[in-house]
Subunit: 481 residues, 2 copies
Amino acid sequence: MSSWNPRTGVAVAAPPDSTPGQVDNAVAAAVAAADEVASARPAERAAWLEAIAAALAADRDDLAELADEEVGLGMPRLTGEAGRAAETIRFYASVVREGGWLGATIEAGRPDLRRMRVPLGPVAVFGASNFPFGFGVLGHDTATALAAGCPVVVKAHPAHPRLSAALAALAGDALNGAGAPAGALSLVAGFAAGSQLVAHPEIRAVAFTGSQRGGLALWRQAATREQAIPVFAEMGTVNAAVVTETADPDEVAAGFVGSFTLGMGQFCTKPGLLLAPAGLAERVAKALDQAKPQGWLLTEQIAATFGEGVLGLEGAGARLLARTPGTGSGWQAQPAVLAVTPDRLRRNPALLEEVFGPVALVAEYADVAERDAVLDVLPGSLATAVHAAADDPDLPALVARLSRRCGRVVVNGWPTGVAVGWAQQHGGPWPATTAPAHTSVGSEALQRFLRPVTFQDAPDAALPPALRRANPWGIPRRGDG
Amino acid sequence: MSSWNPRTGVAVAAPPDSTPGQVDNAVAAAVAAADEVASARPAERAAWLEAIAAALAADRDDLAELADEEVGLGMPRLTGEAGRAAETIRFYASVVREGGWLGATIEAGRPDLRRMRVPLGPVAVFGASNFPFGFGVLGHDTATALAAGCPVVVKAHPAHPRLSAALAALAGDALNGAGAPAGALSLVAGFAAGSQLVAHPEIRAVAFTGSQRGGLALWRQAATREQAIPVFAEMGTVNAAVVTETADPDEVAAGFVGSFTLGMGQFCTKPGLLLAPAGLAERVAKALDQAKPQGWLLTEQIAATFGEGVLGLEGAGARLLARTPGTGSGWQAQPAVLAVTPDRLRRNPALLEEVFGPVALVAEYADVAERDAVLDVLPGSLATAVHAAADDPDLPALVARLSRRCGRVVVNGWPTGVAVGWAQQHGGPWPATTAPAHTSVGSEALQRFLRPVTFQDAPDAALPPALRRANPWGIPRRGDG
């Protein structure tokens, strides 16, 4: 296996692909650790997460440098992302301590029913290329699976194999130091290792962040298993931003360019389409020409697919408005914006397929009917945005219409920023995810890795602590007085 | 299509299978109704459910008679089941009114994030043979999908086609009278109609209750769709009951026979295995000989599969202990109990596959090690039971061990009774369900048909009522002061 530098296209050696025996060993270690990980008190598991967060924060700068060699996103972005990843892991530790995720519910009566959630068991995590920290080895999926009490086997992303190995080693030491069992977290590498994980009978759930094609392939593979398991595939989408006449067009144009070129457009929440009144296309083109965003795509394949994707949009009837020329080194991106008519958008579904990277469409609508006709054919997405004056009489209906097609509606902002908290949703209708009831970001992300159990007429001594009459863990419980 | 009387094996005419055009029309009607069903206030949807419940309760006796002609479960059971189904629908109406299912969560700050759950859209429901009311056209799946705000297209079960049509007509009138849109609930019939539903691009989720084979087939079919949708298949399992030395063996033997022959063993929560100290097998055989339960199996196919299943258990090394002879009319069942050694149970997985109908295994263990060795190879199940004195020092460890393998642990009772409430769980690890995070019974069953949406920085007027600052619906909200 090789680790490529996007700036130069030059490779250095990376850890080799895992052998089938190594994958089996990683899963066996997860199975062996499962009971201990599951039965640890919330405070104990929270401390494990905090140990990982502390180690990540302490090594932030070195890790960001290593990441930058592999993904070329630049030090400001990567040190920021690593720091936020540490904060995120601490947030999940606080979620674990709070205990509401257990869903403890008590219905004392005849029968006496007491319900809580328990971990599913070993989880396979497939990290993403574009957030080596946020959705990498120690990203949301790993942190929430561990938080929920599940051992994790991560499949390293080939875009950052050395960073993946470094993060797994760092977390392994931190977990060990905090008293977590060996096997709580393992790393495997290589395409075959990933397939083996999805097929493995001891894997109880799969979490994936990445492309449509990748997510769909995993989902279909999992459906050939003898035992059904949940597959939580979060996939990039075309996230539409709608602008009304009451918005400030120059502010929108500049914000849009900033958002769709952030991280060289390699965000699953990138706004890929601006649906706006006449005049916006020209302003966006001008804003792109002024901003001249420079950067590299994560991998050779992403660079190739990006180029083909832009050509595909042109072939489907979009017209190039502006493009920032690259200097030609490595996998440098050429951010571009294209114009398309609402009519073409409605008639050609190819225009509404995600092109990963710094490209976006602008469609100018003549009137509200034309605008809403486009909104009604939008595929599901992770997020959408509306730009309008707060007192725009159209705003409530627009927000309601958009909310039917996405997991998050942003008003007068851009979807690329995803705050981590109790009220966040990162998911949405197909094709945003295979599991629309769930999220990969925020406190509710733990729920993917849990299942409920009800205890009927069990005496106090036979109940788990979360359901005992004295509530020894002091967690919030429903129906408990 | 025919409707068969299990007591006689004689058929009368039933409504014909739906044509492909009729299935398309049913889905189109659901799509047309979706926004109105979704946007109805909780109190409004609750009133729709209450109208159905009232109509069902009013026609209970006539419906039970019709059901008895088709499933032969007897009037006491069927009037009881119909009455409980009406109560259950009322319970879900109360759940809708309470509003906690919306999961409204508010995180006021920068950004201001507000999260709630919204309905998925049209749901396909596949009813079960064995509970023509409880899991039929107006059973848990239909009631909770409607409660969640999703239109429903039900596929009638061929074991009770005339009852299915009567229930759909009754509910259609009730919904219409209560002001619900046409298309909120439709019925289709026939195997091909079911396949068409699962493949239909406008169907957003599938709920199924039934056999392993049926559930798995639907799940695999759904995985060939272009758009991934959740499939909630709840499937019958071998539900183990464990007995310790401190339990009363005669009471256990009588209770076990009563539970595994209830409804002629046609419960997905039937205890299919008793793991008990020496002496229990003989007692169970005696209890069966004394009880002499009489009844019919639901369909010719179930009768045939039951006969083969019992022969299969014998072929796998179980020994017939007692069997109640039938009189030979229709699809009369011959309830049976077989003995098997713990060693054989552990070594032959065929002994741990569900045989639907009134048959159960008794395995006598010599010591705790032998008992626990069996527990460690049990497949996942909907429920388990333990019989032991409340102060049995072994009880806590047994309950904990069983809770890892099922959705509900019953202490000193039998799993066949499933109370409907806030703390119930009807689901479990594979092979009990394709979606272990969910339940088909109880307040949480609505969650299958919902997905979260977050509103970021939306002004109050653009928020749905559940998230507005004044909380006009008066629902419980997290983070709201």
